[in-house]
Symmetry: C2
């Protein structure tokens, strides 16, 4: 694998791994604040970030060794409204800045596995940002969000509330494969 694509994939892996972890902490906080459905959404999207991190890791399975990895990550444990805003900011950064840049380099270098893994991620992040925005609107209105079930595609990290699609709109995976939260 070309060095620049490998470096970008390690950075994306670092960012996804930290997002996965941050969302678990924020899920716990949402539950404590009396927003169990926001907690469910954070847990579901945390798993989606695990799907992305795992995809990136496997795309560079032959790039063994120890590296210093630089990645963007959000911090702070605020109110659930603040945490949702932090999540929206992180997702938008990935959609607008990080993945377009990394995908452009992977395309320049014709790195097919990296392109695939990152295209799945960028499409899923758009959906994550929208779901977090919907949740923030509810919380800012003093209510929990109306997501009694949240489904995650284990292939690409696409997320849908209140029911799984017949076929994943990003990767085509079948309804039966979705993981329910």
């Amino acid at each position: 694998m070309n060095a620049m694509t490998a470096q970008n994939l390690r950075s994306a892996f670092g960012g996804e791994s930290q997002a996965h972890m941050r969302y678990l902490v924020w899920a716990n906080k949402a539950e404590k604040e009396g927003f169990p459905n926001v907690g469910r959404l954070f847990k579901a999207i945390s798993f989606a970030e695990q799907v992305h991190a795992t995809g990136h890791f496997k795309a560079m399975k032959d790039e063994s060794g120890d590296f210093q990895v630089t990645a963007g990550a959000g911090f702070g444990l605020g109110t659930t409204s603040e945490n949702l805003q932090g999540a929206i900011n992180g997702e938008n950064f990935e959609v607008e800045q990080m993945y377009p840049a990394y995908i452009a380099v992977a395309e320049l270098q014709n790195e097919k596995a990296a392109i695939q893994s990152m295209k799945f991620a960028i499409e899923a992040e758009k959906v994550h940002a929208n779901l977090y925005s919907e949740a923030k609107e509810a919380v800012d209105g003093g209510k929990d969000v109306d997501f009694s079930e949240v489904y995650v595609c284990p292939i690409c990290g696409y997320v849908e509330a209140n029911g799984a699609p017949d076929k994943c709109p990003i990767c085509g995976a079948k309804k039966e494969m979705f993981i329910k939260y």
Copy 2:
């Protein structure tokens, strides 16, 4: 919180989050290679790294915002023996280099929450390294390791195979609190 301690904690959080993720991928590989107990150990220690990452994140709960985080991380998806060696290297780096340096700075700056969180981590990493070494010896001899149950302390990330201690030797948590894998 002092800037250097906050930067070090973010780096440790980044490293722990990536170790958590890497061990889940390696757990899956161990199961596929016919080493379910090594898979169990990877999953249990993955959870211990989540305990560390969460502790670090909470120790800097008021340090909100988006940052570029640089952290050491291992990559590559090899045989289970190779993956165990990668895990041992990562644990030893934390025990011998990363945490001693970061704890020294936190002590210089009298950052009590950071010292606590990182002292729990360094003590637990020593145990992780030993358990991975035991697992590697078994795998290199062609057998699965003899760990039919693995217990994790949810406060400090201490791990014990084949039974939980009455009291956690690192943090003092009671037997009933341990999580079984």
